[in-house]
């Protein structure tokens, strides 16, 4: 698979190797300091942040294209990835906006250039371990950073809407998706796991009832170590029994939060 094609090349010759009218965007979730984060790109020549996205090669599976984009932005392989929605309103592709950006970039395009056509975009969300990610801007960006979910007001095009939909979907699929295993490091404490659930659900949970319920599922084992260093009593570390976790998620965790 080709990589690192220049912007200019992409825009002028993209129609030779990319599917027309279809793109994809990724909402990459991470968890750090008790906050749910999303990986965003700071765009060149536009005063906004955007979701990492890309195009699909003519013979490439969309899923593979998403994996490729994820790998390029995070350096990670084997990412948990899920398609959640297609955004297809005609109004989402604004020609003027695009041509302006391209002009600032010093690229002249014809009125009928493929990039100015109407695009639909396939939304994917990913769950990654914050600590192991190396954010990497793409050729059309000047920065790639984690942003707190709550701090995000406005994004490029309809990306805020895409983000909101991703978050809504994540909440809906909470009992079928390995948030704990994918968003936390291998070893974690019970309060950390609880905070993760609280952050995603945007809701406080009772500490003791949470622990009872999580443990009753049977896919979390307590280790002999504790997490020293923090003030106050040192909490135990836990890890997932991946086999049992996977099986439980297939059926869906029972009960609501």
């Amino acid at each position: 698979m080709k990589r690192d094609i220049s912007i200019k090349e992409t825009i002028l010759r993209g129609s030779d190797f990319f599917m027309p009218s279809v793109s994809l965007d990724c909402v990459i979730f991470g968890f750090h300091e008790n906050e749910l984060k999303v990986l965003l790109l700071r765009m060149k020549n536009a005063d906004t942040w955007a979701l990492p996205g890309g195009f699909i090669y003519k013979k490439e599976d969309i899923e593979d294209a998403a994996t490729r984009v994820l790998r390029e932005r995070t350096g990670l392989h084997d990412i948990f990835l899920r398609q959640f929605h297609v955004f297809g309103q005609p109004s989402r592709s604004e020609k003027k906006f695009h041509s302006n950006m391209l002009r600032k970039d010093g690229i002249k395009v014809n009125k009928d250039n493929w990039i100015l056509q109407r695009f639909i975009t396939v939304g994917y969300y990913a769950l990654v371990d914050f600590a192991t990610v190396t954010p990497e801007p793409d050729p059309s960006s000047v920065a790639c950073e984690w942003k707190d979910i709550h701090s995000i007001q406005e994004l490029f095009m309809d990306h805020k809407h895409i983000l909101d939909t991703a978050l809504y979907t994540l909440r809906m699929q909470l009992n079928h998706v390995p948030i704990g295993h994918k968003l936390l490091p291998k070893k974690f404490t019970m309060p950390e796991l609880q905070k993760l659930y609280e952050t995603i659900l945007d809701k406080k949970l009772d500490r003791r009832n949470f622990q009872r319920r999580i443990l009753s599922f049977g896919f979390i084992k307590r280790l002999k170590e504790t997490r020293k260093g923090g003030a106050h009593k040192a909490p135990y570390l836990y890890s997932f029994d991946l086999k049992k976790y996977k099986k439980a998620l297939e059926e869906g965790l029972q009960g609501g939060w």
Copy 2:
């Protein structure tokens, strides 16, 4: 919006008014005689059944396109419709297969005709009241019929996979989707509602516990009438309190089945 464009016109000139490389397919669910049904088309010149589908006009919202396809096949307006997945494997568009079908149809196309390009398709599922539907074949079909979910072995292209995914999604979203209101007539009996759940879940439920749980939600009212005519004791008729039903679905019905 244009309608009833001939097949030939669509294939030869389609690229003038349709989006390239994107189509949509609809899985239309109905419920009749205690069976979950899907509306299928019998294709001309191919010995298979297919899901109703279509293309998207260049300035048409995909959602509107799906509504249009639904209206054309069922005669219904105001259909419950939900996008559930995009199918984007390159292998799903098989050029040879298509050109063969077209040849039988007496239509000659260039090798680079838009219809022979790779297509991705957006899947929608719909819930409709069986009794009020008038199945209507499209120009490329010879029949449009309801088929029992369990009787479907093989379909056109990857449509069986699309159908299976729709059914899986419906099961996942069961507690958030108005299956009762959309799939049943306005007045229905408790056994009918139970059969609906049993059919979708493919699982027997206890009659008395089902009734207790459904009624505890509070969005179903018992009417003064009973359904006479069947053998044995005449069951009461019920109907939905739509306001309460909608509210309960937004939160999601609590508990599993």
